[in-house]
């Protein structure tokens, strides 16, 4: 599917989003709509990692940083300015800028693989530590105290640009979230099908070869990372709207793990997969939380282990292959190969 100029997924997304916006508010009460809204918001977040990891080959262990920055930027902007249009823009610009700075540092330093994972993980921890320790009254941006571990409460709802009094109702926030999800999906799909997207995928497949063909891998990775960061920030903005508050928990390691689990379960290298993975896992988490019998960590951990071992490509690619009537490709028994991949790499370096 990668790189094919095939537009049916876009049409499907438009139809699905429009019907959801029209039909669901008619069937469900406000509380259920609010529940559905969070699925859409988190799916946007899932898409952002699906893009930079599945297509850009950049596995960030700290993707929640951009989500959290988006939420905080929106909160601070909205309370300070009153009118939320600038805050909405800030929630994408600030994570995007931070992604640009971090990405420049990473990609122009030629940092990859585990080392990239270590640094992104470290950045999350720094943000979590710093945000948690801002409880004093001296930590404030404009009129907004950062609130340390308690976070920022009573964040104003988004208003229609230019009409500060027209704030979004629950139904309108739902419609906006679903529309955002569809637009982000379509935007990413078009981007992946563009020349830029093809080069990004080519770099993921074989960075050396792409560079020998004259493409600056660093630049393309950086742009990919910034786009992913800005989308995650947008999700953070919607999240702050949804809950009306934000706390350092958005920067927590667990939040970053969640996003990775969604993408792994749904299928790395697809866009629809992570959305499905996100909805599935969130639905499961909610159902289990209401049951209150089984520990949530136990289930999440079990799912992650089983998926990596049994469905290494994730749900959507596996189902797609089964639907086409082919069995999943059998992997060579990794144990007999030993550490082939790792040892050839170190030989090449020596």
């Amino acid at each position: 599917m990668i790189g094919s100029r095939n537009y049916w997924p876009i049409a499907a997304a438009v139809i699905a989003a429009l019907s959801a916006i029209v039909v669901l508010p008619a069937i469900y009460d406000e509380y259920s709509l609010l529940q559905l809204t969070i699925y859409a918001i988190l799916s946007v977040l899932a898409l952002s990692l699906a893009f930079i990891w599945g297509y850009g080959g950049i596995l960030s262990f700290g993707h929640a940083v951009f989500f959290g920055l988006g939420a905080y930027s929106y909160a601070i902007g909205a309370i300070n300015f009153g009118e939320t249009t600038i805050a909405l823009l800030l929630s994408m610009v600030i994570p995007g800028l931070f992604a640009a700075a971090l990405g420049y540092f990473l990609f122009y330093g030629r940092i990859s693989d585990v080392y990239l994972g270590a640094i992104t993980l470290t950045v999350t921890l720094i943000f979590f530590n710093l945000a948690s320790s801002t409880s004093g009254p001296e930590y404030r941006v404009g009129r907004v105290p950062l609130g340390g571990f308690n976070g920022i409460p009573s964040i104003p709802q988004l208003n229609v640009p230019g009409f500060p009094d027209w704030t979004l109702s629950t139904t309108e926030l739902f419609a906006l979230s679903v529309a955002t999800l569809a637009l982000v999906y379509i935007g990413l799909r078009l981007l992946i099908n563009s020349d830029f997207g093809r080069i990004v995928v080519a770099i993921k497949e074989n960075e050396v070869r792409a560079e020998l063909l004259g493409y600056d891998a660093r630049k393309y990775k950086l742009v990919t990372f910034v786009i992913g960061g800005a989308i995650a920030g947008l999700a953070g903005c919607l999240f702050a709207n949804w809950g009306g508050f934000t706390s350092p928990a958005v920067f927590a390691l667990g939040q970053s793990v969640q996003i990775i689990i969604w993408v792994v379960v749904g299928g790395v290298g697809t866009l629809a997969g992570p959305v499905i993975g996100c909805v599935l896992i969130q639905w499961l988490t909610n159902s289990l939380a209401s049951l209150n019998t089984v520990n949530n960590n136990l289930i999440m951990g079990g799912i992650l282990v089983v998926v990596v071992l049994m469905l290494p490509q994730g749900l959507v690619p596996t189902i797609a292959r089964l639907a086409r009537g082919r069995r999943p490709v059998q992997r060579l028994d990794a144990a007999t190969k030993g550490l082939g991949g790792a040892s050839t790499k170190s030989e090449a370096r020596a």
Partner: protein, 288 residues
């Protein structure tokens, strides 16, 4: 003067703790190129093993130095057999699977032990250096860290197992052709790494207390230390621990523990930017 000694001791024991926390992960990463993100939970289980044994009447030193590493080493063996072995050569998949294991173990521990802090009192009281009282247990931590380093050096440099293990690490196919079974070497190495994590958990249990989520506090630090050190197990861990713990302790003294933590993380980022393959990717190549 007394104050300086106390600060110096804090720094040394900080380095020793960081060495203990990361050495198990370093062995597994250095020898097998596997990042075990359930490492923190291995420490946590070592802590629970120690506390459970001590509460059951076992001598506290036996619980710390023997029971914790044995129990966790055994768990490591099982984990290697059923998860790690199936993912060799797939670094990212291994990280994801062990991350899943980490959540799984947190869930299990919460179910079994409950979400409360279990603790045992420190078996050693304070000692006075001049006018400053210091916990004698800190000396014990330093001693254990030193013993672990000496033992690992002997094991990998002087014993036959060490020779075979290093050969397998360098070229699995070649050593396999010479009659070594790489899967068995990997299993043993992983068990050793897990046992070291268990030992660290046991040693730290009297200080930190044990909760199911304890691992999260350690795994990131251990991960960063190991990656910062690079793939050379002992030298890498020692040098990275030395740098990070010194930065952490001095910054903590100067400001607050939170800023100390942030300074540690910040120095790790700068170090990895300057040396993208860790300290031993540039210096001390070819050592253990």
């Amino acid at each position: 003067m007394d104050y300086l000694i106390a600060v110096g001791l804090e720094v040394v024991s900080g380095i020793a703790s960081l060495v203990l926390i990361s050495i198990g992960l370093a062995v597994v990463f250095g020898m097998m190129k596997v990042i075990n993100l359930a490492h923190g939970e291995f420490l946590m289980m070592g802590g629970y093993a120690t506390i459970t044994a001590a509460n059951a009447g076992v001598n506290i030193w036996v619980s710390i130095l023997l029971i914790a590493p044995l129990v966790v080493g055994l768990i490591g063996l099982i984990v290697e057999r059923f998860v790690i072995r199936r993912l060799y050569g797939r670094v990212i998949d291994t990280m994801l699977a062990t991350w899943g294991l980490s959540l799984l173990f947190i869930g299990l521990a919460t179910t079994v032990f409950g979400n409360t802090t279990a603790g045992i009192s420190s078996p050693l009281g304070p000692v006075n250096i001049g006018h400053v009282g210091v916990s004698a247990y800190k000396f014990f931590i330093v001693a254990v860290a030193l013993a672990v380093i000496v033992a690992l050096y002997s094991l990998f440099k002087l014993s036959r197992f060490g020779l075979v293990a290093r050969a397998t690490m360098q070229n699995a196919a070649m050593s396999s052709a010479l009659g070594v079974e790489p899967p068995r070497v990997y299993a043993a190495t992983f068990a050793i790494g897990s046992a070291l994590a268990g030992l660290a958990g046991g040693v730290l249990a009297p200080i930190t207390g044990v909760v199911p989520s304890l691992g999260a506090a350690f795994v990131a630090k251990a991960f960063i230390t190991v990656i910062g050190g690079g793939s050379t197990v002992l030298v890498g861990t020692l040098s990275a621990s030395g740098i990070f713990a010194t930065v952490n302790q001095l910054a903590s003294f100067a400001t607050t523990p939170v800023i100390g933590e942030v300074a540690l993380l910040g120095s790790a980022i700068i170090l990895l930017r300057l040396l993208p393959h860790g300290i031993t990717g540039r210096f001390f190549k070819g050592r253990i």
